[in-house]
Symmetry: C2
Subunit: 452 residues, 2 copies
Amino acid sequence: MAKLAVPPLLSLRHFLVLSIALNVSLILRTVYYESEKGSKGFCLNKKMMADADSDREGHLIHKSRLAMSSTSSLVNSTRADHPGGRETVINLDHGDPTIYERFWRQVGDKTTIIIPGWQSLSYFSDGSNICWFLETEFAREVVRLHKVVGNAVTEGRHIVVGTGSSQLILAALYALSSPDAAEPISVVSAAPYYSSYPSMADYQKSGLYKWAGDAENFDKEGPYIELVTSPNNPDGHRRKAMVNRSQGQFIHDLAYYWPQYTPISSPSDHDLTLFTVSKTTGHAGMRIGWAIVKDKEVAKKMTKFIEISTIGVSKDSQLRAAKVLKAVSDSCEQENSQDGESFFTHSYNIMAQRWKQLRAVVEAGDLFTLPQFSPAFCTFFGQETEPQPAFIWLKCEGDIEDCENLLREHKIVARSGRHFGASPKYVRISMLDTDETFIQLIDRLSAIQQGK
Amino acid sequence: MAKLAVPPLLSLRHFLVLSIALNVSLILRTVYYESEKGSKGFCLNKKMMADADSDREGHLIHKSRLAMSSTSSLVNSTRADHPGGRETVINLDHGDPTIYERFWRQVGDKTTIIIPGWQSLSYFSDGSNICWFLETEFAREVVRLHKVVGNAVTEGRHIVVGTGSSQLILAALYALSSPDAAEPISVVSAAPYYSSYPSMADYQKSGLYKWAGDAENFDKEGPYIELVTSPNNPDGHRRKAMVNRSQGQFIHDLAYYWPQYTPISSPSDHDLTLFTVSKTTGHAGMRIGWAIVKDKEVAKKMTKFIEISTIGVSKDSQLRAAKVLKAVSDSCEQENSQDGESFFTHSYNIMAQRWKQLRAVVEAGDLFTLPQFSPAFCTFFGQETEPQPAFIWLKCEGDIEDCENLLREHKIVARSGRHFGASPKYVRISMLDTDETFIQLIDRLSAIQQGK
């Protein structure tokens, strides 16, 4: 693609970035001339996606299903309105996963759920399960999806459903700590760590557990809990436990261990692993996460936590999540038939395109840098893939000490590195927003680099 | 009804109770001969309900819509299977509100919700609202229902949605306590109090708040939070704050302040009031509750609590709850047209019938006693109504010290009074289970009284 073949001259790079922005803008105007409303736009996109598919006829075999033609790359941008001016604030502070809306619109009725008024009256889902509020259908689809993707061992484990993975993190802290301990157990995570961990550990001023900061500097004797986020939020790197001492217990937060974000190397196999629908399929509004737990007593204590704090988890959302996860598994299993690309192929391609655009802009100047990743073999795609995190962990170079502040001056709201136990020279920016917002981001980062 | 005209002789009482049980059983068998499956059974009930309605033609004016004919009283029992033997355990430990399923089945498609796969991807519902995850439609229906029923002032208040009212109780404790206080604030409630309050206050070993027991014995100086449950769970009595000191803050848990449970005297008007869909309409599986909050800062802190613990509340369930609450308001407004009885008329009548049956059985012996209530004018029904709580607060008289144990011997699982800060001579038994289970309960209580 032209925009990726960046010549060494800085001025030419600038010109190219600008030119790309202009081209995208013009194409958007042309395409949207006839399809200003969402639904018509999606039909058009689907048609154009089909054209793009036929352009790369013969490439739809497993090994090369990730190859994007430049046509479909542009098509992927057509849902956004023209970026317009740089006056409106774009908020990329949260990882709101609206990027996936297009896919789910294209899927149509397959994931539509109908719930009659008399359904789900009872608190109980399955009284015979340790997690008595776990909907059987949801549990079944969780297990199936992990098998299809190959990213987690589920055999002989307990599934505990939560109101998002946030509730499960708290449930896990509760389950792994002891009410009889002389002092709260230390909770650590290696910096840069997920910015919510410190407040989640401390907001209740719990006597059970207490935030103890960066795992790398942790040298206290005795029991501790380490939160291992892999790929890591905010920086996207794969991680293993940092503190390896005898009295450690681990919560593996694998929210981003899905093929669109990182190569799947092998099924994860930890004592306590967390996933969430929000990052898997983009359905953040459902508030559904799940834990895969080896130890029965830990699963029981986590269930108890959720019982006391919310008496279970929305049945409606569990049923809806089951339907969505089923559609994802189906799309993977049917990919090589006439049913089009799978959810993960679709989302991998969008992420790949965004990361290429982002790197092109960032590398066109000296102001910003990005983390570097090595490609690796992905067992799901059966080929080498690139890590392409859900967040940009952007560093301001040179004498810019407050990167968040610089971006805010250009009406980009991002989260400062200081919230992640890192330097304010870093910011975290969501990569999962709409195409429109992403194009505005690219446009503004380019403008900042050019001192505009 | 014959069963209420209980003569003074004990032996005759026994005979009557047995006779009622036998009659109900025979009628059930007759009715269910042709309708063993649920769906057919519901059609039959609807037809018979219509007959019952036409029997009391002319009584469908506002003032007397609560008058039940004996015909419909029996009809109300027809959904249950024959009680059968007394060998199966009936679990009435929880207040699982399956009693309402029949109404929602009769309502049909009106409350069916259809959610397409691309909906509710974002975390956000209304960024301009303090409670940014509150669905506008849900908030609108909450306000409308309180206006229709007249049980709460909502003007100028903030609505905060929660994953059931449990999460809102915790959010309220968090919001009303101070992280800078020298010691945790005391949390009290008058015994018998809701059995979950102590564990909810203490399970996190929070440094912010701490369970301090029965409000009546509370004599500590300084700030405190009193949980005021009215009508009270477990005993059904109307309540006001017990401790009236200057540094008190109050959480009014009005889960049962609805016309089917208690006469509505006036709109509640407190600083912080909680309601839940579970007890209002019976949709416990949704896990949706709401708080009505006067103070903006308190609403903000409660929102923050829910943000940290679950990053919002299921959108799917909020949308579904909106639809169900709308159907309830509609049913109230359309009651005098041809659309049949309102949700509250329906549920009041079932509760009235159950309480009559229960009192008949209990009063037929000396072993048990029930709380006594006085009727009062209900502004919603426009007539005097009886309190008819969602739980039985049953006392074992004489030398029976452990009422829970006695019931357990007869395969009735109920919750001992000791969990409510009361004597084990008491038990709490749910009144909201299915007709089938309720008839079994009546049958067994009768058998116990007769020493069988």
